[in-house]
Amino acid sequence: MYLPKLEQFYKHKEMDEGVLGIFETPEAIMEAAEKTKEKGYVGFDCLLPFPVHGIDEAMGTPRSGLPWVTFFAGLFGCLIGILFQGLTHSYDWPLNIAGKALNAWYAYVPIIFELTVFSAGIYTVVALLFLAGLPSPSRRILHKDLTSHRFGLWIPKSAKGYVESDVVSFVKGLGGTEVTVVQPEKQK
């Protein structure tokens, strides 16, 4: 049976200290990701201008668990819709409107549906922003081409077996150009 697992809700990690390498093509970054996974630098990440197909498998990240959020949020909205309309009309203040039955539930369907969709959508997006670490406009930009046409490989200091010189050479070995060692910003 398919149940939500915690690792599906992986979170974007801030990139304040580590090594960054730049790659030119999607194929290159895919290959690099594969290698890095095998090398075992846990918690490494790729920076992409557009979603490259298959990068998740390459990096070994599991499928996102956000649909679960959608599901339960939807359920919640649906429940609210049913209860709120039912209670207000037939319990809180029963009004004789056009002699219709107080629990004429079929009149409530449209709003039940709308509320379901509403809460499902909104909560999912909220969850997304949380997991993707958005919004944080103060975030540092590592390289300006990474949102346009080039691809980045990021290996954080926190990765297991991180030795700066090894990592740098490793990334170079993968064919990464402009390999830079990123230091945390000075707190002013």
Binding site: L95, N96, I97, A98, G99, K100, A101, L102
Partner: protein, 1044 residues
């Protein structure tokens, strides 16, 4: 027990009496925030400086306040009286009479000042303000009912265009003055021209006033008293009676005794002698719940489709000028049937004459037959402006002959207790006056209630009047005549003054005031007394005269309480023999002839400044706010004149430009134009509404011939959109745009014969979806049946309010509409808004033509009063997003104004379209966000007449008939406090209470003894659009016509 001077104003304002006007103390009071004495108010409005708050107070504008939820309400004040006084002593205005309870309504018996019929009324006054008029049940004339103009006459009291004080007119410019100066001037002039005083009054039905006038003339050393009336038939009838029977009089008519009625151009329910009485008597014989044997048969031969004609069993369209010919033709037909007593008809060639009339022969024979069968119980009447042809007197003689042939004298016609006695010749009086003026033979001239300059526009009164030494016009406003006279002596409204009336010999009613004069005005009688030097007949004011006079006859206070002295005489007496010579027939002009008629609402136009009457749709044409030239469909086709074309109407050398209305039911060669329009000096509302058709009148000046002369119509090429409340292209419900759809079962008519066989005659089975439940067809529960069907969701165990409307009795007079407007503070919106289709009447009367408009003889005109039907499954409630209209526990469809946001969805979804939307702020000078551009707003002191029991609605809010929720609530609280249930007939809806024909019945359906419950079970009862399964609470009783 009543009192005339209980004088506290609305809870939120000061009392104030007009004696204090202009005193130092008043100035002080004026400084106070909520000082609201009406007369300075007018000054303030006119002067344009007026603080908004006061206005809001006036208009009870908290609806507006609440629409801005976050605005703190302005502090309201409570201003109690200073003192309590007992009834015995004459209290000062600061004193509360110990019997007056704040917030309670009291009814005072009085007399209606609407017209000269002199109906007895009950005035509902609350905290010293008259708020509503109802008919006085004790009074044999009104018998508890009141007509449209009677209802509306309340607003003349609150008319902002009344003259607030005496005015002197110098070179056509009025300048304010006061009574002291006026009285002084009058007295001097009377002295200097002794014996040459002339008093011209409207036809008076007050014996005491007549005596007083005589007394006055005596005391000042002689003079004349002339009565002058317009558009009426009293003169002709009186003269004809003199010729026929040797005694000049206007008899009384008993329609309730008449089994067959033939009216020749007589709008006796709309505009003849005593409309309410006649309509009530007429309707008594149309009440089929009693027995259908009694039902009368009514033939209306008329030159113009009148309200009366619409309730005829057989309409006979006549060409103006042919009235007398028709009468004689009928006489001839009668004598052919062997009815004796005919004179001068032997020479008539029946076929030829009938052919000339353009009607079918068997129709005439049918009329004659029915009349002959009902000898002694039939009635022939003629009268009204449109019967005033050049041979009007001969017409009346012919009518007299018919009646005596049928032996109606002393039975349906009462020559003993008459309406008027002695020689009456209004036009003679008028010409006498102009002679005297020409020959400089008039000293002081008093004109009381006669607006000669308007009603006789060809008389050149502007010049003539200046031949008199002094002309004093006694009128409530600066009207056309006042503008060309020397003085205007402002007249009190009938609700402000004492008086009495004797419309029919032996029936006397006291007119008692219910409010202190709002302005510095006096009644004519009081003025006479002060002009006579402050004392007349040993009394200082008219009140004392009346009191002393009637105290001799009966207990004064009982008289006031009951309101009337004497009973109607219904016994048969006073048979008389016809001797008058019948003149030979003259030929009528061969081409188009016109008939000028007095419209049902406005009558002679005296009250043209009454928005209620201006906006009351004409019973037949449904036109408001204008008069028009009505032409027949045939003539429209031949001449090419269409609706809203402006035509040039030419009679001799005089001509008028009037919009055209194509009126089915007119004789092909007949043209009709309403009198009473085109006032020039009546006030902001009535000025310049329509054209004065009296300009076209014929005969020697003063004009007396209003009908039967030839007229020429030509198109001017211009267009003018008439403000109608109902479409005119649409004919009968059956034929729609030529596509022959099934006839819509809206008004269900049947013939008496069919009805007496089958009570449900003509009523179709409503197509309501039913399903087979254990063997028999029933409405399924899923189909949400209304409360009267088993298995419905909601039952109404306590009260269940319902209404029944009898279409057989309804005459479409519109009294209910006006009564509803006044009871519920319904605003009048003015011509432009009516054109846009935004009239606010909660109640409307739908008019349908049944039959072929090309065949006026066979055309029937049906009325259907339509108000909110209070459906059990009300479509409007389902769609209101904010639950502003929901169902009450008593089966009413409640509308909550203060919750309404104004989506108008309810109105769209209402199959009857009875909901009304407030497109405008009708009551407040400014509304929430301004909007002063709308000029047709109620001006003070109109607001003093608002019913405090009903919320005043703001802009952007939906409203509709609420089954007089305020009346129900009032009665219910009373009953509850007394620990009992409401009795049947204890609570009447405004429309029901005023209806002269008793067609509307409102009450508790759950009470099996209630009249409404019985009527709902009546075979004739059906519901409108029942197939929609909305379960209306209003039932209609099918329209039965007695035409064999």
């Amino acid at each position: 027990m009543m009192k005339d001077e209980s004088f506290q104003k609305e809870k939120k304002s000061h009392w104030m009496s007009y004696e204090l006007r202009g005193t130092h103390r008043e100035k002080e009071l004026q400084k106070q925030e909520f000082y609201t004495s009406p007369d300075p108010l007018i000054q303030k409005i006119k002067a344009g400086d007026f603080d908004r708050k006061t206005f809001l107070k006036f208009m009870g504008a908290s609806v507006v306040m609440t629409s801005v939820g976050c605005v703190q309400k302005p502090a309201e004040k409570i201003v109690p009286y200073v003192n309590i006084s007992s009834i015995s002593n004459e209290g000062a205005p600061t004193e509360q009479y110990d019997f007056v309870k704040h917030g309670h309504s009291y009814h005072y018996a009085s007399v209606c000042g609407g017209c000269s019929a002199g109906c007895g009324v009950l005035v509902k006054a609350r905290d010293g303000r008259p708020l509503k008029l109802e008919g006085n049940p004790n009074h044999p004339i009104s018998q508890g009912a009141l007509c449209a103009s009677g209802q509306a006459s309340l607003f003349d009291l609150y008319d902002s265009d009344r003259a607030p004080e005496p005015m002197q007119i110098v070179q056509g410019k009025p300048k304010s003055s006061d009574w002291v100066v006026l009285d002084k001037d009058v007295r001097e002039k009377i002295k200097s021209n002794a014996g040459k005083t002339v008093i011209v009054t409207k036809p008076l039905n007050s014996p005491t006033s007549k005596d007083l006038i005589a007394e006055f003339l005596k005391s000042i050393g002689g003079g004349k008293h002339l009565e002058v009336g317009f558009y009426g038939s009293e003169s002709s009838i009186a003269k004809a009676n003199e010729i026929s029977f040797g005694k000049a009089l206007v008899p009384n008519y008993h329609f309730d005794k008449a089994r067959v009625i033939l009216s020749i151009d007589c709008d006796f329910m709309g505009n003849f002698l005593s409309p309410v009485e006649f309509q009530r008597d007429f309707a008594k014989r149309r009440d089929l719940t009693q027995s259908n044997k009694a039902m009368n048969q009514f033939f209306a031969a008329e030159t113009h489709p009148t309200m009366t004609g619409t309730s005829a069993d057989q309409r006979i369209p006549l060409k103006p000028g042919d009235q007398r010919k028709f009468a004689l033709v009928v006489a001839r037909a009668l004598s052919d049937l062997g009815v004796g007593g005919a004179q001068g008809v032997s020479g008539i060639n029946l076929e030829a004459a009938i052919a000339e009339l353009g009607i079918s022969k068997d129709l005439v024979q049918k009329v004659a037959k029915s009349l002959a069968d009902a000898r002694g119980a039939s009635l022939v009447v003629a009268g009204g402006a449109s019967a005033e042809t050049s041979d009007a007197i001969d017409l009346q003689i012919a009518v007299n002959m018919l009646n005596s042939m049928l032996g109606n004298d002393g039975k349906t016609i009462d020559p003993v207790n008459v309406r008027k006695e002695g020689k009456i010749d209004y036009s003679e009086n008028l010409s006498q006056l102009s002679q005297d003026l020409k020959s400089q033979n008039v000293g002081v001239l008093f004109l009381y209630g006669v607006n000669v300059a308007y009603s006789d526009p060809l008389g050149e009164w502007g010049k003539l009047l200046h031949q008199a030494a002094l002309v004093v016009t006694v009128s409530d406003r600066l009207d056309e005549t006042a503008m060309v006279s020397n003085w205007l002596a402002p007249l009190s409204h009938s609700l402000e003054a004492w008086g009495d009336s004797e419309p029919v010999q032996g029936i006397v009613a006291i007119q008692q005031p219910t409010v202190r004069p709002l302005f510095a005005t006096r009644s004519f009688e009081d003025s006479l007394i002060s002009w006579a030097g402050g004392e007349l007949a040993g009394s200082k004011n008219f009140y004392e005269i009346l009191k002393s006079k009637y105290s001799k006859k009966t207990n004064w206070e009982d008289l006031l309480r009951k309101g009337v002295l004497g009973q109607a005489n219904k016994s048969d007496k006073g048979g008389r023999s016809f001797r008058g010579n019948v003149a030979p027939l003259a030929s009528t002009p061969s081409n188009l002839t016109v008939s000028l008629y007095a419209s049902t609402a406005l009558g002679d136009g005296e009250r043209a400044n009454n928005s209620q009457l201006q906006e009351l749709p004409d019973p037949v044409s449904k036109v408001t706010w204008d008069n028009y030239v009505a032409i027949s469909p045939q003539y429209s086709r031949s001449s090419g004149l269409k609706l809203n074309d402006v035509a040039k109407v030419t009679v001799g050398d005089k001509s008028l430009d009037l919009p055209v209305l194509v009126q089915p039911g007119l004789h092909p060669e007949a043209v009709g134009i309403a009198l009473g329009y085109g006032r020039t000096a009546v006030g902001g509302i009535g000025n310049g509404v329509g054209q004065n058709a009296a300009l076209l009148a014929q005969g020697k000046s003063p004009n007396s011939v209003y009908s039967g002369f030839s007229v020429k119509l030509e198109s001017t090429g211009r267009k003018y959109k008439l403000a109608t409340t109902q479409d005119h292209h649409m004919m009968s419900p059956g034929v729609l745009m030529g596509t022959a759809w099934k006839e819509r079962p809206l008004i269900i008519s049947a013939k008496l014969q069919d009805y007496s066989q089958n009570g449900k005659a003509g009523i179709p089975e409503p197509e309501i979806p039913k399903i087979l439940i254990n063997g028999k067809l029933e409405r399924s529960k899923g189909a949400n049946p209304p409360s009267d069907v088993p298995g419905s969701e909601f039952q109404y165990p306590g009260y269940k309010w319902g209404m029944a409307v009898d279409l057989t009795q309804c005459t479409g007079c519109g009294a209910c509409v006006v009564a509803c407007n006044i009871e519920n503070n319904v605003p009048m919106v003015g011509r432009d808004e009516v054109r846009m289709g935004r009239e606010m009447h909660w109640m409307r009367i739908d008019r349908y033509y049944i039959g072929d408009p090309e065949k006026p003889e066979s055309l029937e005109i049906a009325h259907q009063p339509l108000m909110c039907q209070h459906c059990d499954n009300a479509p409007c409630e389902t769609v209101c997003p904010v639950a502003a209209t929901v169902h009450g526990s008593e089966g009413t469809n409640d509308m909550v104004y203060n919750r309404c946001v104004g989506t108008r969805y309810c109105s769209n979804n209402c199959p009857y379209k009875v909901r009304r939307f407030n497109w405008l702020e009708h009551w407040n000078e400014h509304d929430l966000l301004g909007g002063e551009h709308y000029t047709f707003k109620a001006q003070p002191p109109r607001n003093l007449g608002l019913n405090p029991e009903v919320t005043v609605r703001a802009r952007g809010v939906m409203e509709k008939c609420n089954f007089c929720a305020s009346r129900v609530a009032e009665t219910k609280i009373k009953a509850k406090n007394e620990g009992r249930k409401i009795k049947d007939g204890e609570v009447l809806s405004a429309c029901q209470e005023t209806c002269p024909s008793g067609a509307i019945v409102f009450g508790n359906v759950n009470d099996p003894e209630a009249k409404v419950a019985k009527l709902l079970k009546d075979e004739r009862s059906y519901k409108l659009l029942e197939y929609l399964n909305i379960g209306p609470a209003v039932s209609y009783l099918s329209r039965i016509r007695n035409n064999a």
